[in-house]
């Protein structure tokens, strides 16, 4: 049980920035940004390739985050003036990034096992130290985003998702704010990809398969779990991030638990999807009864 929990916790730490990115795009900007899949691999690909070329891991990590932000800016420009639907723009951007990531890596897979990364030395000392460092890195980025959402910029981003027409009527540059929002979320997805590559020891072109949908599921799950005990009507940054954390932890706990029960991995996603549906149904019933 403890081993399952520790495994889930370690996966949660690296995946949390991705879940927060999805939360911001889905709940705040009110767009399902499929680019996050591509930006996740982009972060891993840029980091792995630069480290392989003997670039300092710090510079490689900063480049990875910036590359994600640039991907976000690209997808935002694609949607400019609502010329292309956000969902379609995200799918197209991911499609383009598939080739882009292959071009960056030069091959489908780069191993980082023999490379010096941001966390390799800490992991060589002890597993615990390594995971503390990964947690710190993941936490710092999530806290930066948390701090931004506390500011007036954060309030404007929430207003943008809520009523973009009103914001435009008030003369605010909504395309600029959308661009900032997407840069933030895709930068976070790249952080997640970069950290994942370092902890699993490789960057792979297929490592983000289904990540956006998984993140969406975990965010919804987290909100439903938290709303059983707390009111989620009013925006509260602590509750929202707490919901992301709980959702991701629950998801990975379920994955690891099922694997330890020797469930055939072929059925894994099917079972997790069914669990998610069950939770959503329960939450829906509770909501109609006024319990939430």
């Amino acid at each position: 049980m403890l081993e399952t929990f520790i495994a889930a916790l370690s996966q949660t730490v690296t995946f949390l920035p991705m879940a927060v990115a999805l939360y911001i795009s889905f709940n705040i900007l009110r767009a399902i940004d499929m680019t996050l899949d591509g930006s996740f691999v982009l972060g891993a690909a840029i980091f792995a390739r630069l480290v392989e070329l003997n670039v300092s891991p710090v510079i490689a990590a900063i480049s990875a985050v910036l590359s994600g932000a640039i991907a976000g800016i690209g997808v935002s420009i694609m949607q400019r003036g609502q010329k292309i639907d956000s969902l379609l723009a995200g799918v197209l951007a991911t499609f383009i990034l598939l080739s882009g990531n292959l071009l960056i890596m030069g091959r489908p897979n780069i191993s980082l096992l023999s490379q010096v990364t941001l966390v390799s030395r800490a992991f060589q000392n002890s597993q615990l130290l390594g995971w503390i460092l990964v947690t710190l890195l993941s936490g710092v980025f999530c806290l930066i985003i948390c701090a931004i959402l506390f500011t007036k910029l954060g309030l404007i981003l929430r207003a943008l998702g809520d009523n973009p027409n009103l914001l435009a009527r008030r003369g605010k540059p909504i395309e600029l704010y959308r661009l900032l929002g997407f840069a933030m979320t895709n930068g976070l997805a790249a952080v997640s990809g970069c950290l994942t590559a370092q902890t699993i020891g490789y960057a792979d072109i297929g490592m983000s398969y289904g990540m956006t949908l998984t993140a969406l599921g975990t965010v919804i799950l987290g909100k439903q779990i938290l709303s059983m005990g707390l009111s989620m009507h009013k925006f509260n940054i602590g509750k929202e991030f707490g919901a992301c954390f709980i959702g991701v932890l629950f998801y990975f706990f379920a994955v690891n638990g099922l694997l330890r029960l020797e469930i055939n991995p072929l059925y894994l996603k099917m079972l997790l999807g069914t669990i998610l549906i069950g939770f959503l149904r329960l939450a829906g019933i509770a909501k109609t009864r006024g319990q939430i």
Partner: protein, 238 residues
Amino acid sequence: MKNIVLSLNNVGLNLPDVSHHILKNISCDIHDGDFIILLGHNGCGKSSLLKVLDRRYQMTQGEVLLYGKRLETYSPAQLAKQVITLTQDPRESLFPSLTVLENCILVSPQTRRSFFLDYLYQFNKNLVTKLDTVVSKLSGGEQQALVLALTILHPPKILLLDEHTSALDPQAAITLMATTSQIVRKHHITCILSTHDLNLALNYGEKILVLADGKLAHSIDFEQKKNLNTQDLLRVCY
């Protein structure tokens, strides 16, 4: 003689999916501080005319001059400072998922709770206790009062009211209209109100414009209005 604020010259409007002309050759001058009432049957073009004036619709004929400058030469930010529209759905003018306080902070450099507590009290006493309530949880009357309060934080030169009391119960509508009229006069705002309420037209309007099939059918000034009752107005408008 009052200054001309808005000048409409042969304004016409066609919309892509509508075969007939929505507005046809509308010409009139609106003066500083006027309280104009727009009357007419459903579909006569009242709301469309207001949408032309706040540039949600692009006129297809004629010109509108705002302080002598063509309307289209104003940037969205400049126009937003001059012209504000309140519609019958207050959610169009609010951020429904944000709280009352957050909605206030978005339009004001002020962030102090105490400032907004005092300020909102003038518009609706209930709002004072609901500063941290999500706007979508407020009643229709409270939402409209909040929209009005936010509008007056930076008083516009022109206020367009598109049947903004029509979704409220009679008492809430009377209260809101009285507050609106008081605020408009206090800040010397030019106001154009589109409505079907003839009592409202007679009580508040200084000038009544009657639209029929997209045309300006009648213009009733303050002196003429004094001699009219609701029955007379009913015959003229419908």
